[in-house]
């Protein structure tokens, strides 16, 4: 028996089994150790899987040894292995950071449960990325969502509760829509396996239930990924959640939802179905642009940094969807690239904000006045990540925007190029708000002068900021994987 053969199952099962262990131990240090071990193992596994897929193509793993359409299949292809690396990597970086971060923000008694929820959330997200079964996606989606609701509600402010409740309602409606969509597809094809479904769907292409399923899945997933008009839950949720949670969610949760969308569009429906039958392309383009402008513009007028960057996330999701709407390999590459690059950038920003909150006692713009003097390194990190959000060369954000522009040029749509650049100006505006407060205002006097950043928080944050720069300079891994995944998806049908 070779262990390597079972990596797909272990990828999800190790964090999953870590969760009950943390509950049994009921001790926060031990729980932390277990969670850390599990997420680092998961990260190692995901890298191994990525290498395997890179070397020898898609891996299929039949759980319970039942052949695919009858049992549940795990399927690791270029796209999902890329997602696995992103999700487990982010978890591995954020988790060490959690320990000191939640010390301040979550009641002590709850700490071991915090780790339980964290690994469960990780499990869910990994499970979604790896599974080859439509209904299984729903089950793991719910694991991660339920864990997310709790994580958000653990925030210090009482508004965290309301934010969590709203997210619960929206999220459940979204999930139910997804179930309806899957149900309609199942009724038409008689199967739940994604690959099998895609093949059998060809026979009934364009029929009404299939179109309705497409609509339901799109709306349901859009709720989850906070596409522009359905984003209302996101700013509150990110603002009031504990900082470590905001960082992890911003970097992964919406990104995995995008993954689900891609999975259904390209592996189940096939692009001709999605873009041929309905005016999906135009609709997505419109929503993406609306999101880019409306959300970024709203971000400029926020007075709290966490909220500001939460709105910026909604705007950035616009870019991601924009790439999708081009319906071309280069557009899709840009989508997947931005998924990754924006994930690490936003993760870094929320981790930095966590440091700010710890030292300055809050993240409102008036609180961070003079941050440049008080916390020079942190402010510097913020500026770097801000540049990445804008898309300045030398940062990760530039790479994905560059590919997005290339994709737009390929379509010959000059006005889009103009719009993308214009919306980047909005990003300049909201990042400037931070810079102005941090560097051009006098420091406040009422800040605790002794508060320092513990190294367990500083190091992971620095690592992620460095990654933002690294992936802006060395693009082999990201662009390579993204274009491979994009080609794979476009060629799948």
């Amino acid at each position: 028996m070779s262990l390597a053969q079972h990596l797909p199952a272990l990828q999800v099962v190790i964090p999953l089994l870590a969760a009950p262990l943390t509950v049994l131990l009921r001790h926060r240090t031990l729980a932390f150790a277990v969670a850390l071990l599990a997420s680092w193992t998961a990260f190692a596994i995901s890298i191994t899987l990525w290498l395997q897929v890179d070397a020898s193509g898609t891996i299929s793993y039949a759980i319970g040894n039942w052949p695919p359409p009858w049992g549940i299949e795990y399927r690791v292809d270029p796209l999902s292995s890329f997602m696995l690396v992103l999700v487990s990597g982010m978890a591995s970086v954020v988790l060490p950071y959690c320990r000191s971060s939640i010390e301040d923000e979550v009641p002590q008694q709850q700490h071991y449960l915090f780790y339980t929820m964290f690994v469960l959330c990780l499990t869910g997200l990994l499970g979604i990325s790896i599974t080859g079964d439509a209904f299984n996606i729903f089950v793991f989606l719910e694991i991660s969502s339920l864990a997310t609701y709790v994580l958000i509600a653990l925030g210090r402010d009482r508004r965290a509760l309301v934010a969590s409740y709203q997210y619960l309602i929206m999220g459940t409606i979204g999930a139910t829509f997804i179930v309806i969509g899957i149900g309609l597809l199942y009724l038409m094809t008689g199967t739940l396996n994604i690959a099998d479904m895609g093949q059998r769907l060809a026979a009934v292409q364009g029929t009404r239930p299939v179109l309705a399923a497409l609509a339901f899945l799109t709306v349901g997933i859009s709720l989850k990924l906070a596409l522009f008009p359905l984003h209302q839950w996101l700013p509150n949720a990110y603002t009031y959640a504990p900082s470590a949670v905001s960082a992890f969610l911003a970097a992964t949760a919406t990104k995995v939802a995008v993954y689900v969308l891609l999975r259904f569009y390209f592996s189940v429906f096939g692009q001709s179905q999605v873009f041929g039958q309905l005016p999906m392309q135009e609709a997505m383009l419109l929503l993406a642009l609306a999101g880019m402008f409306a959300a970024s513009a709203t971000a400029i007028f926020q007075s709290d940094l966490k909220r500001l960057f939460a709105y910026s996330s909604v705007g950035q999701i616009g870019y991601i969807i924009l790439g999708l709407s081009f319906d071309s390999v280069s557009g899709l590459t840009a989508t997947i690239l931005h998924l990754f690059n924006h994930g690490i950038t936003k993760g870094a920003i929320f981790m930095l904000l966590g440091l700010v909150a710890l030292v300055m006692g809050g993240t409102s713009l008036s609180r961070v006045q003079g941050l440049g003097k008080r916390m020079p390194l942190t402010s510097f990190g913020m500026v770097i990540c801000g540049l990445s959000l804008i898309g300045v060369p030398g940062t990760a954000g530039f790479i994905s925007k560059w590919y997005l522009l290339l994709a737009a040029l390929e379509q010959g749509q000059w006005w889009l190029v103009f719009l993308i650049l214009l919306s980047s100006l909005l990003a300049v505006a909201y990042v400037w708000r931070f810079v102005e407060a941090a560097y051009f205002r006098e420091p406040r006097q009422d800040v605790d002068a002794n508060a320092t950043v513990p190294w367990s928080m500083g190091v992971p944050t620095a690592l992620l900021v460095a990654a933002t720069v690294y992936f802006g300079l060395s693009t082999g891994f990201t662009v390579g994987s993204a274009s491979q995944a994009a080609t794979f998806l476009m060629g799948a049908r």
């Binding site: 339920l146 009482r158 409606i173 309806i180």
Partner: protein, 127 residues
Amino acid sequence: MNTTMTLGGHFTYFVTIFLMVAGLFIVIARGNLIKKLIGLGIFQTSVYLLYIAPGKLVGGTAPILSDAFTVYSSPLPHVLILTAIVVGVATLALGLALTVRIREAYDSIEEDEILNMDAVPSRQEQA
């Protein structure tokens, strides 16, 4: 496929859809947090019917094998819905727990009252 379409053949779907619309309406329109959850429950329950109904075969029987029967209703939707029910009740429990916490923090379970309370920073108890 459209030629075989009859009203009777789709009756179960229409019932399902009515329940679904009603449930969704309650969720979106009502401001009371508990009422919203009840609506959510109805919305989810209607989906069960969407899955289960097509699995039924007239003249068939429950999918428990025995020598006396040869036609069975489809078992797979049943399995899926069992899972969905469990997920539904899990969500419900969490939602109610949140409601209780919200009520403790705000002394209200009306959505608009809560939102008002946060809009006015000087907290006015008992509007």
